[in-house]
Amino acid sequence: MLLLWLVFAIWPESFEDAFGRKKIFLNALLNGITLGALYFLVASGFTLIFGLMRNVNLAHGSLYLLGGYIGFEIAEWTGSWLFSFVVAFVAVALVGIVLQYVVFRRMEGQELRQTLVTIGISIVLADLMLWTWGGDFYQILTPEWLSGPVETFFVTAIRSSGEPVYLTYPFVRLLILLASLILGIGMWLVLGRTRIGVLIRAGVDDRDMLAASGVRIQLVFLGVFAFGAGLAGMAGVVGGTFQSLAPGEDIRFLLASLVVVIVGGMGSIPGAALGAVLIGLAEQFGSVYVPTYAVVFTFLIMVLVLAFRPQGLLSNR
């Protein structure tokens, strides 16, 4: 209730003196949600991979950054923002296929060893990317037809003439939010309704049963890993547009994925969504209102979840 009032009502002046302008609040709110959308894109791939294959893919952040860099190159080369998405997805998915086929397949069942390998891969990838693209910040430019703010229906203040002032917000961010929603719902539907989705979920609960049902389990693994990796790659393009690409972003998004799935619950897409939104909001509000302690917010949420519900908020374990 309080939240609804905060969002939709006009803030009285005294309130604003105490808490800052409503515009800042709304901006932080929307930034948090859209950042959450970005985190969701990355984390959902991570949680899919772990959920089915028990592989903690610590190279996921590197895949994100790789996708971003590739997207940047394609965008530069062809000038098409949308096309760079496709290429990034495919390219990183291919890398994922190679990894799964060449590496992880040989280590079936050895979770720790797989995880160590992903660490090694992330070190190698990080250095190769540093070598290729250097330490500069890369920014993918938003295409013309998407850039620019759009008027939303959130009211920030009343002008002296009595006219309400609406909050303007970058269109591209809203678009990404919408796309993530669609993607998330799509994944949820696929996992819940389609045959392949049911198989994957069954595999999450009982791998032997999946193998016994005659499905080529390695193909399923390949597909899931490729899709998860591709998601990360696409998220890289998004991140390159919203923010920027540079060495260190891989670690940042890996950690974000970790925290999101710790909070939301491993192997759960809705959990990833919930965790992503929570963490996105925590980060944004933290950086706006308590800059030197922003990290504490995120960390606090994680600690609370670990203390009281260690398996994650929406985990069905």
Binding site: I119, V295, L306
Partner: protein
């Protein structure tokens, strides 16, 4: 349990310390005596740089990796928070002791600052363990990594306590008992003694009731509970034990570098400690130290080696990553594992040759 109990006097009861010590000393292999001797006389023929920056650093990193090895090898818990515990200790020492940042450092007497730092860092390690142990094995890596990251970001953002990006400098060892411990040779011996004590402690504890129980919780936690052990409490206690010498190492580290900053316990070093422990071998307490010396030697001389091969010297991380991958692929129990297998093969060949001769 109806069999008669043999008379107590029949058992070899080591009544006096000397026989017990004698038995123990006799079991140390000659190779270990050789290495130990070399380490002791090292200052006689090594220059200051080698002494402190190579061996001193190796011993310190080895201690931190030992902390990880204890939890991973004996407890089955791969914890990435050990380097962070060391960093925490270093920071606490800077904050409670003396440093160049007079506005934050409290300037307590050195022994009090050291004690406080170790205490706080151990507490931090214990709490991290408490968060990490209630979930299944593979989550431990994730949770401890997240905690390590949180610590890194927090120390980088916070200026009132941790002085943010720049951290603390001017943190030096004190002059105690007439010896200036800042000098290379005394500092080297200090790290050597600390590392040796940590090593001995881990070796001793591994065969103690606590260590055995820890290995039990690694092999079969369900059975341990069914034998009356509180598995969770045991695991947390393991974190406490491991955090103690990680904390000591952290203090030595900040003294080594005279400074500490967020990057000291950043994600890079955190992962590096894991690499060191795995490369050396998680099977025995000497593994971490082997891994550490390999890492430090590579780190120190790789620049020249890489350039000699025609590669850019900055590609050090690539080397580390590839080497790590190679080890995980071909010898998951690290260099120690390679050594064990080579030794077994050599012994086997010796046996075969001997049998061949005998049957001639």
């Amino acid at each position: 349990m109806a069999t008669a109990r043999p008379a107590v006097q029949d058992r070899a009861r080591p009544l006096d310390v000397s026989t017990r010590l004698g038995n123990w000393l006799r079991r140390i292999p000659p190779a270990a005596w050789g290495v130990g001797f070399l380490l002791l006389i090292l200052p006689a023929f090594a220059n200051d740089f080698i002494l402190v920056q190579v061996f001193g650093w190796s011993l310190i990193l080895g201690m931190i990796a030992l902390s990880l090895m204890f939890l991973a090898g004996y407890g089955g818990m791969v914890s990435l928070v050990q380097m962070t515990v060391a960093g925490c200790a270093g920071y606490m020492l800077a904050i409670f002791g003396t440093s160049a940042i007079a506005s934050i450092s409290l300037g307590w007497p050195w022994w009090l600052a050291v004690l406080t730092a170790i205490l706080i860092a151990t507490l931090f390690g214990t709490l991290s363990g408490a968060l990490a142990v209630r979930t299944a094995g593979i989550y431990t890596i994730m949770i401890t990594l997240a905690i390590a990251a949180a610590f890194f970001y927090f120390t980088r953002q916070n200026y009132t306590i941790f002085n943010g990006f720049s951290g603390f400098n001017g943190v030096r060892p004190p002059v105690v008992l007439g010896v200036d411990w800042r000098q290379p040779t005394p500092f080297y011996y200090l790290t050597l003694v600390c590392a040796a004590l940590s090593y001995a402690a881990v070796l001793y504890v591994s065969r103690s009731p606590f260590g055995l129980a820890l290995q039990g919780t690694r092999d079969n936690p369900r059975r341990m509970a069914a034998l009356g052990f509180n598995v969770t409490a045991h695991r947390i206690a393991a974190y406490t034990f491991a955090s103690v010498f990680a904390a000591v190492a952290g203090i030595l580290l900040v003294w080594l570098n005279s400074q500490i900053s967020p990057g000291t316990a950043g994600i890079g070093p955190v992962i590096d400690v894991l690499v060191i422990a795995v490369v050396g071998g998680l099977g025995s307490p000497i593994g971490p130290f082997i891994g550490a010396i390999i890492y430090v030697v590579l780190r120190t001389f790789a620049l020249d080696a890489l350039v000699a091969v025609g590669l850019d010297g900055a590609r050090f991380q690539l080397l580390i990553g590839l080497g790590f991958l190679a080890i995980v692929f071909f010898s998951p129990d690290g260099v120690l594992g390679l050594w064990e297998r080579a030794r077994n093969r050599w012994r086997h060949r010796q046996d075969v040759m001997r049998i061949g001769e005998e049957t001639r």
